[in-house]
Symmetry: C3
Subunit: 209 residues, 3 copies
C-alpha cells in the first residue's frame, strides 16, 4: 500500500456512499423503482466501478466481497436516499454533485490501487478513469440512458485528470492525505465547471445542416 | 465440495436448461430474433449468471468453459425453445415460471459455490443472489428492457432468501439433496406468489401527484 | 505461443484499429457524440472483446493494460475516425466493412489465444466468437441498439466459422501467416455476403400474422 491504508479506505467508503445515494436517487427519479430496485441500483452504482477495477487487475474476490464495510455503506446509502428521496427528487443538483464526488474519489483510489498492483503509469491512469466512470455507466445502462461518459466530454476528462495527478503524486513520492484529497478536489471542480457552464468537448466537425 | 457434487451439478444443469428456454422465448417474444439470435440470447441468459459468479470468485476459466455439458445443455434449451416457441409465445406464464425456476436454482448453487471458495456468509448470500439474477439481467439489457431485478422487489428478495437458506443449511451441516431443493423451492414460491398477486416492495414515499 | 507471436500481434493491432474506427463512426452517426465520447466508444469497441476474452481465461491484467500499443492504436483509430467522420458518416458501408474486419481478426486471435491458455477445442471456438462479437456488443448496448449478434444470424455464424478454422489449423499444425489470414478472410467473406444479400438465419416458425 503506497499511501496510508486508512486514508484510502476512508476515501473509498465515502465514494461508495455518495455513489449509492446517487444511484438510488436516479432509480427514484428516472425509473420510479421500489425500495429494492432503488437499493439495488444504488449498490450497482457504488460498487460497480470497484468491481470492474478489481477484475481487471486480478484482485479477486473484489474488495467489496472480502470487506463487508463496502456492502454495509452501499446499502445504507441506497436506503437513506430512498427514504429522503421525496425531498430531493425535484432537484437535479444532488444527483450531479454526488456523481461528481464519487467520480473524483474513485478515480484517485483506482489509480492508486492500479500502481499497487504493478501496472504502469499510463495503465494506472486509464484504470483510475475506468473506476471512476464504471459504476455510473452500469447505472445508466440498466435504466436505459446513454452513459454520461459518452455524452459529455467533461466527464471522462476530469476522471483522467484526477487519476493522472494521483499517479504523478505517487511517482513523486508526495502522495498522502493532502495530495489525495487535492487530486480528487481538482477532478471534482473540473467536472462541476463543465456542468455549470455546460462545456463540452468539440463536437464532430462540419455537422450536416 | 460441501454437498454431493453430483446433486449440485444436476441442479446447475437444470437451472442452465430452464434459463436457456426462458432466454430464447424472450428473444422470440420481445425481439422476434432469428434462430441464431434466439440461441445466443438463451445461452447468455443460461450461462451469464454463472460466468459473473465465477469471475467474481476467481474461478477462471468459468465452469461453462471447462465443462462442455453446460454449453450443450444451454444450446439444446435455446434450440428447443426456438422450435416450440410458436406454441408458447402467446402465453406469458412459461417465461415467468422458467425464469423463477432458474433464479431459484442459481441462487442456491451460487451461494454454495461461494462458500466453497472461502467467502464469508454475507458475501455468499450476495453472490448467490447475483448468480440468480445475473443471466436475466444481461438478457434484459441486451433486448433493452429495464431488468426485472430493478422493477420488482420480489425478484431480488426471493433470490436472497434462497441463498440465505442455503448458507444457513451449509453452516448447520444439513445441506444435502432435500435441503438444497427445499431452499430453491421456497425461493421459487416466494417469487411466484409475488408474480401471482402482483406484490411489490414499498414504492418511494409521498409520490408527486 | 502457437503461431508466430509477431503475426498474431499485428493481426490483433489491425483488428483493434478497425474496431476503433468503427466504434467512433457509430458514435458520430448514431449518437452524435463529441470527441471524447467518440474516442471512448471507439476504445470500448476496440478493446472490449479482448478484455472479455482475457477475463474469461484468467489472463489479467488484460493485454490491453500490459501492452500500451493496444491503447495507442485504439486511441488513434478513434481520433482519426472523429476527424474524418464528416466525410464518411453519410455512407453506411464503412461501418459495416470495418466491423466485419474486426469481427474476423478477433475471432481468429481469440480462438488462438484460448488454445494457448489450455482450453479445449469447443471452448476455444466459443471464446473466439465471443472475442469477435464482444466489442461490438458492448458498443451497441452503450448506444442503446439491440446488438448485431442478436439481430442477424450471419454475425455470430461467421465468427464461429473463423474461430473453428483457426482451431482446426492449429490442431493440424498448419497455423501460420497464410492460414490465419485465410481463416479471417473466410469469416469476413461470409459476413459480407450475408450483409450484401441480406441473408439471415431462419426466423421463428409459423409467425403470428
Amino acid at each position: 500500500m503506497i499511501a496510508e491504508p486508512t486514508l484510502l479506505l476512508v476515501l473509498d467508503l465515502v465514494g461508495t456512499f455518495v455513489f449509492a445515494l446517487d444511484g438510488a436517487l436516479v432509480a427514484l427519479r428516472v425509473a420510479r423503482l421500489d425500495i429494492v430496485g432503488a437499493i439495488t441500483l444504488g449498490m450497482v452504482t457504488a460498487i460497480g466501478g470497484g468491481i470492474i477495477r478489481d477484475l481487471l487487475i486480478g484482485a479477486v474476490p473484489p474488495a467489496t466481497f472480502s470487506d463487508w464495510r463496502y456492502l454495509a455503506v452501499a446499502t445504507a446509502g441506497g436506503l437513506i436516499a430512498f427514504l429522503l428521496g421525496h425531498r430531493l427528487e425535484r432537484l437535479s443538483s444532488p444527483i450531479t454533485v454526488l456523481d461528481a464526488a464519487g467520480l473524483s474519489l474513485f478515480a484517485v483510489i483506482g489509480a492508486s490501487k492500479a500502481l499497487d498492483f504493478g501496472l504502469g503509469a499510463g495503465q494506472a491512469v486509464l484504470l483510475g478513469a475506468i473506476t471512476g466512470v464504471g459504476g455510473g455507466t452500469l447505472r445508466d445502462v440498466l435504466v436505459r440512458r446513454v452513459p454520461a461518459v459518452l455524452q459529455s466530454g467533461l466527464y471522462a476528462i476530469p476522471a483522467i485528470i484526477g487519476a493522472a495527478l494521483t499517479v504523478a503524486a505517487i511517482r513523486a513520492d508526495v502522495f498522502g492525505p493532502v495530495t489525495a484529497v487535492a487530486a480528487a478536489a481538482i477532478c471534482f471542480l473540473v467536472r462541476m465547471i463543465g456542468v455549470r457552464y455546460d462545456i463540452n468537448a468539440p463536437g464532430p466537425p462540419r455537422r450536416a445542416p
